[in-house]
Chain length 604, copies 2
């Protein structure tokens, strides 16, 4: 059994839930059919298992180090990334006209998930580069693209995103890095950037930074931020590399997890000219950056789900192999010990992981399918509706896994017991890796404010209505099947509770009180969305079971679908009630956290 | 502000909740009054802040290493432990007749908590030694005590507990280490022990292992386990050290946290005689070990609370110092950024930590006070009642913090954002440290089975009735105060729900189904007990506020007590409903985790 992907389950999302075969009928994907997609996934899995997974522990143990003025990364990471570039995966999601594989987003997410699960610390360099290239492609001038896009997509040069500064993390409006026009169309940057993943390394010939900075006369706050492309090494007009561009590593951050990825404090222009190129227009930097944010944030959610999947698959495999103890009621010490998975509580730990991991995968692949639908539609109204829905779901896709898939990683450790607490097994590393995901690309609370303060209110609740439109057919199908109708009623009730909660909050005149429990809304609303996606899985599973005659279904498929039904029941029984509680708390407009004073915490 | 202890809060537990002054009136504590206790705590805090806290990060970063046949520990750890022994803290809880400080357990727990919060990786060596000495004192022969107890209590020799083996963790009945009588009253041990904390190191002249093993004719399972004292270096009759006793380090475990403490796979008698001495009688080893387990397990809970306290105090301090963002509704980017603690969600993160940390402290100190009451009472019936109550609460004291105080550590990281994810700040280390506590000294699920399968049923629910007797006076007082009566009604209702849940489970004829959600019962019941202890804190705070006239109360005390009221309200509002859910699930006798098959998880 692969420990980085369950291909049967992946096919379930692609084919049975989110209609990949139908998507492939589009002209845009004429080069592919379902078999070639399988071949691409085979290749990704083989490469991830051969080059990434085996060096994940080493990449964690041997952090990037600052040696002779450069950040040195484990040689095996370079080997893995070389194979990745050679296979063409750097540009998996890009159009063929720029050398990409022109795959649907649904498929690129599946590929990314495989590599993230295998070794996120090393894979990050590649996905950061793709995000950087995506931003360049969307917002950059033809001249910039001509010079920089090719090497990025080939993976000869890697990319970063430089947003935060030491004094400006969640509050990006407070950045101070400046960019002064040199009068020749270029700019000179000075300032420092913090938390730059892949900010320096010896993995590529050059590094292309996308940097947020202010021009001298920019208005204060977020409206005065511009975006600049700043190479580590200057690039001559013929594409050859020139002089060092004075992007200096001022320090390496030593993290709890994701240790394979270098993370730097960078100084721009400290000891000489640091040349930058404007991307998009002045003062529109943040808006341009946010154009890319939906995809980047869904990518964070994907990474979180992938980490949890790695823990789950490992724990499941371990629980089926490791003997310990005897079943309740048969305590004869002379009988052999039974497998861990024979214990109901171990199955509870595994079912909880399954509920979060497969719920999370459905969430991410659903969002990916929305991006694909948005890309293909020529109907302006549908495009708008999908855009609104993605706006609503992006904070969920980013944040829900960072909470619940982290919990799954915690439980994977528990299945292994003491062994799980050691670095000889991957489960503790995956837990450490995953803890980052509630912090970067917008901290958990920021997304809570975003969804409850903005997203559910846009267009007088337009996005929620689009979501409801997506859910309704599944509700109707489930209501018509007595085996699932109870779940449908349950989901309907909690959807009603979401609407009521939003109404109460929207009517509250005090913004601090209204938003005080926005994070709980984010968590609770996420649970509601995932409950729907579990119902969707149950519907597909039930339909497949009903289709199979007693002879033609394979035993494996029967087990698989029964497991999906159990997962849905588990989520509704053990998890969905937590959404009720969270929504009740939000709607209560409880003021404890608004009125408690800083001094009351400890009396000092 | 100290970052390892809130002395005002500690005094609150000692004086206002658990009646230390009254305890000190006992003849046993005639050497102490409240002022000398304060002096002892001052000394502990000063030592912990001077020698333990500053080297905690280094002890984590520089794991014990196997060098030239011995495990080498960071030199600063030795320095800290030298100061600890010199101050006499090794024997803080022991009687003065054996050279101890003869302090109440309530006070020794306060002291231990301070050192654990400062640097659990180093402090562990001392507390393991005390636990080892405690076992020797209670179960060992006069001859063994004469030879080994003194050096242990002086800290010249350190001690360990050797229970697990690679094939026997939760299932101790399956251990294989054997002890064969040599005919001279001593035994020869052969076998391997896994997960031995402090199993080897260069911190003391000798190491005294307490080892569970089987004699050749022992009955199978837990009834055939005996306890042996096995020194690393043999001890001559005059107390001088003799030859190596063939206790060899076969490997070091590399853990996620608690990295300052060596953790070993030990081989006994592999290349020569390994001499052991029977402690207690043959085949009563596990029973003897379990005599000490209540205290050891409360110690685990204490360590978990201490880790969370360290995270909470650090996060609180950071949130009051670090400026980031602006308040909702005042987004003018030209105004200065406000402190993190001005954001309601940051206060929610801190209130959640406060609710868990101070609830957990109340739980641990309450259990300590029960041990003290048990030690002092001459009333056989009261002794029995207290014993039953401790049996009931020990799994809670061990397990509740390992779940919820770990969550607190997670949230402390969130307050610090990216900084919290780096090893430059203590919050991620404390989170890693705390993850162990749901695993060792009985995994979480084992305690679930213990409490729901045994403890709540003993004597037809006798222990639950004793607990209710302890709670009732607080319920009555709260019911009589209209400011708290709503909370009293709420607690009364959930106590009723506990009883009903136990009845349903006890009546269920299928043990696997009855116990399937025992862990959820453990978590939910823990929440109920902690809710009571929060109500107890609110009662004390309200009484103090009512006593203070407008002039005589200090501002600090006013804030402190208001914070306690807010903490109680927070716990009842945000946390206690989770107990309802957990108990409902337990009482539903849901069978998903019983009927799901190993194959259904992934369809393979």
């Amino acid at each position: 059994m692969s420990l980085i992907v369950n291909r049967r389950d992946l096919d379930f999302y692609l084919d049975e839930l989110f209609q990949l075969p139908k998507l492939l009928e589009a002209e845009r994907y004429a080069d592919y059919d379902r078999n070639t997609i399988t071949a691409v996934l085979d290749a990704a899995q083989a490469l991830a298992e051969e080059k990434f997974q085996p060096v994940a522990a080493a990449a964690d143990a041997t952090e990037p180090a600052f040696v002779d003025g450069e950040v040195e990364v484990l040689p095996e990471a370079l080997e893995a990334l070389d194979a990745f570039r050679e296979a063409g995966f750097m540009a998996a999601g890009f159009d063929s006209e720029v050398g990409g594989m022109q795959l649907p987003w649904l498929v690129t997410q599946a590929i990314s998930g495989i590599f993230m699960c295998a070794n996120t610390g090393v894979a990050n360099y590649a996905f950061l580069t793709a995000a950087n290239a995506n931003l360049l492609q969307t917002c950059g001038s033809a001249e910039l693209k001509e010079k920089f896009l090719g090497p990025l997509l080939e993976g000869r040069w890697f990319g970063t995103m430089c947003l935060s500064e030491t004094q400006a993390g969640s509050s990006l409006g407070d950045i101070r890095t400046t960019a002064v026009s040199a009068g020749d169309g270029t700019y000179r940057l000075t300032g420092s950037k913090m938390w730059i993943s892949g900010g320096d390394h010896n993995l590529s010939e050059n590094i292309v930074h996308m940097v947020l900075a202010r021009t001298p006369d920019a208005p204060p706050g977020v409206r005065g931020i511009s975006l600049f492309l700043v190479p580590k090494i200057r690039v001559n007009d013929d594409g050859s590399l020139g002089d060092f561009n004075n992007v200096a590593v001022a320090g390496l951050n030593h993290k709890m997890g994701q240790r394979g990825t270098s993370n730097c404090l960078l100084n721009f222009g400290e000891s000489g000219d640091c040349v930058g190129y404007l991307v998009g227009r002045e003062n529109e930097g943040l808006a341009n950056m946010f154009h890319m944010m939906n995809e980047a944030r869904i990518g964070v959610g994907l990474g979180s789900v992938a980490a949890a999947l790695g823990g789950y698959l490992y724990a499941l495999d371990y629980a089926r192999e490791r003997a310990q103890g005897r079943r309740l009621g048969s305590k004869d010490p002379t009988t052999p010990q039974v497998k861990l998975i024979e214990h109901a509580d171990v199955r509870r730990l595994l079912m909880t992981q399954k509920a979060f991991v497969e719920g999370g995968q459905a969430l991410i692949f659903y969002c990916a399918s929305l991006l694909d639908r948005q890309k293909l539609t020529s109907d302006r109204q549908e495009h708008q509706a999908l855009a609104a829905l993605l706006e609503l779901l992006t904070p969920v896709a980013k944040s829900w896994p960072s909470e619940y898939c982290l919990e799954a990683n915690k439980l994977a450790i528990q299945v292994l017991g003491g062994y799980g607490y050691t670095r000889d097994y991957p489960v503790e590393r995956l837990y450490r890796d995953n803890r980052l995901n509630a912090i970067h690309e917008g901290a958990h609370a920021i997304h809570g404010l975003d969804i409850l303060g903005r997203k559910v209110r846009m267009g007088d609740g337009a996005a929620l209505r689009v979501l409801r439109g997506e859910i309704q057919p599944d509700l109707d199908r489930a209501a018509a099947d007595e085996r699932l109708s109870g779940l449908a009623r349950r989901l309907e009730a909690v959807l009603e509770q979401v609407d009521q909660t939003v109404q109460v909050v929207t009517a509250c005149p005090n913004p601090e009180l209204a938003m005080a429990n926005a994070t709980l809304f984010l968590d609770g609303f996420g649970h509601v969305v995932v409950a729907w996606l579990w119902l969707k899985q149950a519907l597909a599973a039930q339909a497949a079971l009903d289709m199979a005659t007693s002879d033609d279904g394979s035993r494996h498929d029967h087990d698989f679908y029964q497991g999906k039904l159990a997962g849905c029941q588990f989520f509704f029984r053990y998890e969905l009630p937590k959404a009720d509680l969270a929504l009740q708390t939000v709607a209560s407009l409880d003021d404890i956290n608004v009125r408690v004073t800083p001094e009351q915490f400890t009396g000092q």
